[in-house]
């Protein structure tokens, strides 16, 4: 069985993926680049030695079986492990910002890197509007005009504006699950991040809501760089330009990046036999 790649590969960068040695300088097209990244919790190393770029204004899918460290790597990019006892070593760059440098403030990293979580998590006590502008307010933006413009723009981008423009001040929790997730996307977009991290954003949604979010993801990639963790191989083929395949290493405890390339290659002619086995087992 062949796989149809329906994503916008035709607009992807020209040139075929070439081999690169770990530790090389980040490619100029990378919005995020990870070099030799390890994450451990206590004595347990969860992922080891990840070298990965998220190409600017493209969707990169992080796929693999559960427990192989995809989400862990994603959360290393915006330093979400800081408060949960995870220790990150190696280098993470967001643009020219060295995320784990001594003088880098975690809060400033996070205001540049948006995140969307597995389950829709709008602030339950806030209105739709307050949810969208929550990030702006947290970052000290007070101007009413800016808040209003940003909210409208973000809701447009999240394809939610027409739906909620007449009830911006009603509670966010009245929205349906899919709408709540789009609201969370709008909330993340309102601070105009360069990078949007999405951690299985459709896992709690029904197929129709999922389709909407997927459509949204491909549209958003014109303005933001997207890192998408997903269990769903079809979703990866549908929305991503590049795919990174993770697997537990030989010790069965530590995840590692097996292969990375454009999505078509990973799914149709992967180099690594482990990728081939997994992709064919899951998809074929």
């Amino acid at each position: 069985m062949t796989i149809e790649i329906t994503s916008n590969v035709e607009t992807s960068p020209g040139g075929s993926p070439g081999q690169s040695t770990p530790g090389a300088s980040p490619s100029p097209t990378a919005a995020v680049s990870l070099r030799g990244v390890n994450v451990s919790f206590g004595k347990h190393r969860v992922v080891r030695d990840v070298n990965l770029d998220l190409v600017r204004n493209r969707v990169t899918a992080l796929v693999g079986p559960s427990g192989c460290g995809k989400t862990t790597i994603l959360r290393a990019i915006n330093r979400l492990h800081d408060d949960s006892g995870g220790k990150v070593t190696g280098q993470v760059l967001v643009g020219d910002l060295d995320v784990y440098a001594r003088d880098t403030q975690a809060e400033l990293v996070r205001s540049r890197v948006g995140m969307v979580f597995q389950r829709p998590n709008p602030f339950p006590t806030m209105s739709i509007f307050d949810n969208v502008v929550a990030g702006l307010r947290l970052n000290g933006v007070r101007s009413k005009t800016v808040l209003r413009e940003a909210a409208e723009s973000a809701l447009h981008h999240a394809a939610l504006w027409d739906l909620v423009k007449d009830r911006l001040h009603s509670p966010a929790v009245r929205l349906s699950g899919g709408q709540q997730q789009r609201l969370c996307i709008a909330r993340a977009l309102a601070v105009e991040p360069e990078v949007l991290l999405m951690d299985e954003p459709c896992s709690a949604l029904d197929p129709i809501a999922t389709a909407k979010i997927e459509e949204l993801i491909t549209h958003l990639a014109t303005d933001v760089t997207i890192g998408l963790v997903t269990h769903n191989m079809f979703q990866a083929t549908r929305v991503s330009d590049y795919t990174a395949f993770f697997l537990l290493g030989d010790d069965r405890a530590t995840g590692e990046l097996v292969e990375y390339g454009d999505t078509k290659t990973i799914f149709e002619s992967p180099h690594d036999p482990r990728t081939r086995a997994y992709v064919s087992g899951e998809v074929g």
């Binding site: 809060e107 389950r119 602030f123 339950p124 806030m126 929550a134 990030g135 929790v173």
Partner: protein, 332 residues
């Protein structure tokens, strides 16, 4: 014979008498059903009888006072044989003032403590501290009262009250001689007693906030405190309100410790430093010497008033708590 797992299987339509007979047969014929059902129903019935008995007997015992004074009992109370007066209104005011003092002192401190224990402190510190506060919640009120009377009262008379009198702008609250026993001391002792309640319930409410909400704020660039302020505290608000209301119920109903430190003066207090009386302290101090008849009935009338106030507050708190639980259930 059919074994029904749930008791509430709708029975077939029968005439009422047949229905009852059928129901009894069904229930009692089942093995192990009879004795067990009798047991459960006994428990429930005795409990219900006690609750109803409490209300009925207090109402009956106070009926003479209410019959004598009517609704004016709620303000002016009733005269006893020796023409002493039990001014209900003054006791109510005293109860409200001491409770207000306790709430004003205990709520910010208690919620702040809860926020620290739930959100800010490292685990190795939060765990033991929470246990410590929970344990201290078990200290009997008589011991708190003893400490308030013999230790805190002299400190208030010598240091705290003279100091408060010197604060400009607050003379209206703090004037008159510094005795020690006073509305202020009673409120402070109450604050000490309700603090553990507020801390424990608020901490539960704060911990009940979904971790996803915290992460949402964190991922938007919030600082540690901003996470608490934007994501955690608003989410726990109903729970904290319920905590405050239940603590208020406890403060309103506390009698023995207040009776020991309030100074017991049946007059309208002119300042927080003045001695006063609450419903509870008035009951404690007068019931023993009250003569049978109208005298005693009046004091039981005070119990009824106290019961009504605390029941009102507690029902409010319970409803709030239930609403929160239901809201959480709906989200989950």
């Amino acid at each position: 014979m059919s074994t029904t797992l749930l008791e509430e299987v709708p029975p077939p339509r029968l005439t009422p008498i047949e229905g009852v007979k059928e129901g009894l047969q069904r229930r009692w014929a089942r093995p192990g059903g009879r004795a067990y059902a009798v047991l459960r129903w006994t428990g429930a019935t005795v409990f219900a009888v006690i609750v109803l008995g409490l209300v009925v007997s207090l109402l009956a015992s106070s009926s003479q006072a209410f019959g004598h004074s009517g609704l004016s009992f709620l303000w002016s109370g009733t005269y006893n044989a020796t023409k002493d007066i039990y001014p209900t209104g003054i006791f109510i005011i005293g109860t409200l003032i001491t409770t207000a003092v306790a709430i004003i002192l205990a709520v910010p401190i208690g919620v702040g403590t809860a926020a620290f224990l739930s959100e800010l402190a490292p685990k190795w510190l939060a765990g033991p501290l929470s246990v410590l506060i929970d344990l201290i919640a078990a200290v009997p009120s008589i011991v708190v009262g003893l400490w308030g009377l013999l230790v805190l009262s002299p400190v208030f008379a010598r240091h705290v009250e003279p100091f408060l009198k010197k604060i400009p702008g607050l003379e209206w609250f703090f004037h008159g001689p510094a005795y020690g026993p006073s509305m202020l001391l009673a409120g402070t002792v109450l604050a000490v007693m309700i603090l553990p309640t507020i801390v424990a319930l608020s901490r539960t409410a704060l911990q009940g906030v979904a971790n996803e909400d915290r992460e949402a704020a964190r991922a938007l660039g919030a600082t540690r405190w901003q996470v608490v302020r934007t994501a955690v505290v608003p989410g726990a608000r109903t729970g904290i309100e319920a905590a405050v209301i239940l603590a208020m119920g406890r403060a309103l109903g506390e009698t023995i410790a207040v009776a020991m430190v309030i100074g017991n003066n049946n007059a309208l207090p002119h300042s927080l430093l003045a001695p006063g009386a609450t419903l509870g302290s008035a009951i404690i101090n007068n019931f023993g010497e009250a003569n049978p008849g109208l005298d005693r009935s009046s004091i039981i009338g005070l119990v009824v008033v106290l019961l009504a106030i605390t029941a009102l507050v507690n029902v409010g708190g319970q409803l709030l708590l239930r609403r929160r639980l239901r809201a959480e259930g709906a989200v989950a």
